[in-house]
Symmetry: C2
């Protein structure tokens, strides 16, 4: 039985390998919902969708998110009404958000509808949002026009991560409850894997949900993280910039420090082998392996190595 | 200044000609909303959309509704979730419903958002829903499995008008208020035109909104209807079947009888010239003209003849 903490594209690519390495029916994936946003009145859960579409084999392979060969007729047509269309929802993707929003309005929880959507797509693992309560990630930035607080997708997509980050908060996290199954999965798992996701804005929100960090601290020797930083940079996304902005060294050493209290083992890339002793000296077990997930086989190999490290 | 009572395709084709015949800025179109329905959580106003798209020049010319060359990726993708997809919303069309629904949820009235959408499409007339309150048209039918009450789109689209009709009710009409501008337009108009729409389920709901029928009765000599029945049949839609089911003769004579109290003049087709005396004898002025709207020029000519009849 395995529990995985997941953000978006990095997590999805790791999971694509994990389901080849182990029986998927024993895997619970706890997904970040701090990026969830309402567009055109629809509830969009970007990380849940990325994991769902990837495990369903329908993800756009170029971007890592959205549906392959999707079209954009609806979002293009929305431009006529002068509403913001910087978040490019595809037409097939829109069906997911329409269904989710309708179910939520009918009283279903985000967990319920996440399971329904995953089921409709034939996803073989159990997908659980970190919480059924909204916990929007807010990014404090400075721009030319002064300081501002942006929601995650505003900073990430609309402003292309350009404004310098001063801080990150998980709004409402202290009032949020873990979704049903989250704490149970963490307590029961033989292994807890923290995906190679953004430590600050993908995994950070999950850890901010009351009970999650404590569950990991209590089982630190069964927790392993795959470093999303290779040779001082991210493969994709702004993890490097966010780590730096929040005072962490932009390296696997910085990642290790960020997770030190919750995680007993880190998998770092071969390119970072020289940093292994430094991490080990600070009290974390280190495994050195190829971590670049160039294809499903590489992901599968990384999953095997990661689970084998415990 | 002209007021037009409008349903869907027939009304839209008439209006396409009217805006060529007169200054559109003096035209107020009062549109049936009895067919409005919620699909996938979105508020769809079929008749308003048909009139909007037609006057914007973007309507699908084959069907008379929907947007030309629209695609159906979203509704096809919705099938995965097991939700009913018999109402085929196009992707571009979906943008209209997303915008409308979002504005309604934000507190805008249906009148406001109807004007916003018409403005975004460059519609040159004033489009007003009959009411901002919901007045769903319910169709009492008999089916193989017994009697049932269907909403208009269920009977019309899902069941293809097949179940035999016992009666039609306009649910909540007695509590509904005319939308802002409806009664004013009817009182101020030099001419009130009842479009060649379905008398029972397109114009009937408008007349059922408190105040509308009285406004027409008071101005009966300024009201003209274009018969939607030519030689005992409709050009499009189930007007003939509904007239018959509710006890009207399926002919221009039946149409005249249905509108006798509210309308002083009827335009009937040349094919029905032999019935003119019969209608006139019952107290309605009759104008015989070509009424088949084969193209925009034919619609324009019909609009000129109709207005000239008053």
């Amino acid at each position: 039985v395995i529990a995985v903490l997941a953000g978006g594209v990095g997590a999805a690519r790791f999971l694509r390998g994990l389901v080849r390495a182990v029986d998927p029916s024993g895997v619970t994936v706890i997904v970040n919902t701090g990026d969830d946003e309402t567009f055109h009145g629809l509830h969009v859960s970007p990380d849940i969708d990325t994991v769902t579409y990837t495990l369903a084999g329908v993800v756009n392979p170029e971007t890592g998110w959205g549906i392959a060969a999707d079209t954009f007729a609806a979002v293009d047509a929305l431009e006529r009404f002068g509403v913001p269309t910087w978040f490019r929802l595809g037409d097939r993707d829109l069906a997911t958000h329409l269904f989710r929003t309708q179910r939520l309005r009918a009283g279903a929880s985000l967990s319920q509808v996440t399971a329904e959507i995953a089921g409709a797509f034939g996803v073989p693992v159990r997908l659980v949002p970190m919480s059924d309560d909204p916990v929007p990630t807010l990014i404090e930035v400075t721009r030319d026009d002064g300081p501002a607080v942006l929601r995650m997708q505003e900073w990430f997509v609309r402003e292309r991560c350009e404004p310098a980050v001063l801080g990150v908060t998980f709004s409402g996290a202290d009032q949020a409850r873990p979704a049903p199954g989250v704490l149970g999965a963490l307590n029961d798992a033989d292994a807890i894997v923290i995906s190679p996701s953004n430590p600050i804005i993908s995994i950070g929100p999950i850890l901010a949900v009351p009970g999650v960090r404590d569950a990991l601290v209590a089982r630190r020797d069964r927790v392993v993280v795959v470093s999303p930083i290779i040779a001082g940079a991210t493969v994709k996304g702004p993890a490097d910039r966010l780590l730096g902005a929040l005072g962490y060294e932009v390296s696997c050493v910085g990642v290790a420090r960020a997770y030190h209290d919750v995680c007993g083992t880190i998998v770092i890339d071969e390119q970072d082998a020289a940093r292994a002793d430094e991490i080990a000296a600070a009290g974390m077990r280190v495994l050195v392996a190829p971590t670049l997930m160039t294809d499903a086989r590489a992901s599968e190999q990384l999953a095997r190595v990661t689970l084998g490290s415990l």
